[in-house]
Amino acid sequence: MRIMTAFDPVTATVGGALIGLSAALLMLLTGRIAGISGILAGCLSLVGGDWKWRAAFILGLVIAPLTGGLAGYSLAEPQMPKSWAVVVIAGLLVGFGTRLGGGCTSGHGICGMSRFSPRSLTATVIFFITAIVVVLITRHGLEG
């Protein structure tokens, strides 16, 4: 299977604008931050408060690809690490790390940065640099 990673600034920008619109609308309408790790943790009753709106948000997110097919966008089988151990370790780290750090790409990276929060800017810079280094090692480390 060929993996599509062609540079496409138009769809990237349109998609990004929709993500920003979602975050802005959620705050304007319901007063909540569109941070996926926090919303998921709230669904699992790991943080206090109402779980119903969180479950509704996640339901919308999960079924979005089924409706996106109408516009010609559908979901492909995600390319995952070959090693099951890496799949499990990566999942554990994403779950543990986003809760410990209080946010992920959406909560810190989009919502926090949009509020000009130094805390979120710090988290975003750290998880980006860390991920870039990990990719550098896993993709190019053995080539010297």
Binding site: M4, T5, D8, P9, A12, G15, G16, I19, G20, L21, S22, A24, L25, L26, L28, L29, T30, G31, I33, A34, L40, A41, W53, A56, F57, I58, G60, L61, V62, I63, P65, T67, L75, Q79, W84, I89, G91, L92, L93, V94, G95, F96, G97, T98, G101, G102, S106, G109, I110, M113, S114, S117, P118, T122, A123, T130, V134, V135, L136, R139
Partner: protein
């Protein structure tokens, strides 16, 4: 009820954004993170567009006393840059770099029923529970230490 409908609609829009931008694909995210290799900068446009729209939206929302459908806004109150923030962001960055998946795209891929993706999401949820347990234990320990420190004063 209106809050639940609005949240559902926002989840849908968020999902469309991840889908159209390509951020839902782990391979696309890894290509974006691979700045020293065959770099695909597309998702930089996604981040920039998302930030432009949400920062304008947030600035307009902040002028209002309360949201349209709910009694109060929950703007985050935490501002400290502390060890948990730095450590958490690093651990998340390792997992993100290994898999190309952050929580939103991971959840959005559920309907593919890819076995590896399902295991990833299960592990992510276990990781969240482990963090919760660890934090409770740590809070209890700090409380015990505080009690012990007070004990001589009682005697």
């Amino acid at each position: 009820m209106m809050v639940i409908i609005a949240s559902f609609a926002c989840g849908l829009i968020f999902g469309w954004g991840l889908l159209i931008s390509g951020m839902v694909q782990p391979a696309k995210v890894l290509a974006f993170l691979d700045i020293f290799g065959n770099w695909d900068p597309s998702l930089a446009f996604t981040m920039a567009a998302a930030l432009a729209v949400s920062s304008i939206g947030f600035a307009l929302t902040r002028r209002r006393e309360k949201p349209l459908l709910a009694p109060q806004s929950f703007w985050p109150s935490a501002s400290s840059i502390d060890a948990p923030l730095v450590t958490g962001a690093m651990l998340f960055g390792i997992g993100w770099g290994l898999s190309g998946l952050c929580p939103g795209p991971a959840l959005e891929n559920l309907t593919t029923l890819s076995p590896r993706l399902l295991v990833f999401v299960a592990a992510m949820i276990v990781g969240m529970f482990l963090q919760d347990q660890w934090q409770r234990r740590r809070a209890a320990q700090i409380q015990r230490e505080a009690d012990t420190a007070l004990a001589p004063a009682d005697g």
